[in-house]
Symmetry: D2
Subunit: 80 residues, 4 copies
């Protein structure tokens, strides 16, 4: 199965990269961009074929390695 | 509206960050992880209320700023 | 002049990317790697020719845009 | 010993992140920024006490894991 993980900064945590993008878009003439937040997107190919087990394993991976849960949120989606 | 942008390395482009994650998961005891690819995930809050126009604008932002289209693919999804 | 900026996570702030690299190195057979921390490295080409003014400007850029000073430290070096 | 690794995109490889920063600095009123390139900066704490061996090991780590040598350059500096 494939797992799709989104890791985003928690609300209230400053995001310099997102701020840079927002300003850059403004200076390139793109108006009406109120806020930009940059996160990470990770795709994993797993040998596991049981969706519930795959989801639980990736959840565990996020807590133990992929995300800094003090400042980041994560979501896990298991497909196909 | 909100736009969600996924930027991923094209197939065939080496991904050291993904490789590091895959190896790290193995050494942490997570078996059966065949491949890991790390990309970027960007959320934009837009003043635009027309979905088609919002989509076209963000598409343009990807080509002009957000993605390196030589080595990266991108997808744009407009919500809400 | 050229400015070289190093942005690193403050001591105590978890670094999942660094942790992933450390584990991956272990599983690739590289022993004796005690810790890995990943930061950003930014090079800027500046029109400014006065080193003190260039340094002050880049310092300001770090505070206003480049670094998240709540969780990151930065250093600025001006050369050439 | 400590090793400091700089990983930068090769000349000619587009750098959307650097471009975003350059534009953002302009829109924040910072003039005279001709170019910005964003790279990675990795610090490793090594058990190895021989500088030449430490350097050779980290060089090997860059080739095997840390850098995408098709599009990135790296430098290794060993200290302390």
């Amino acid at each position: 199965m494939k797992a799709k993980v989104h890791i985003t900064l928690k609300t209230g945590v400053l995001d310099p990269q997102g701020k840079a993008i927002a300003h850059a878009l403004g200076s390139l003439g793109f108006g009406g961009v109120d806020e930009v937040r940059q996160g990470k997107y990770i795709e994993l190919d797993l040998a596991e074929t049981d969706p519930a087990k795959a989801k639980a394993a990736v959840d565990d991976m996020c807590k133990k390695l992929l995300a800094n849960t003090v400042i980041e949120n994560y979501t896990v989606e298991v497909v196909g």
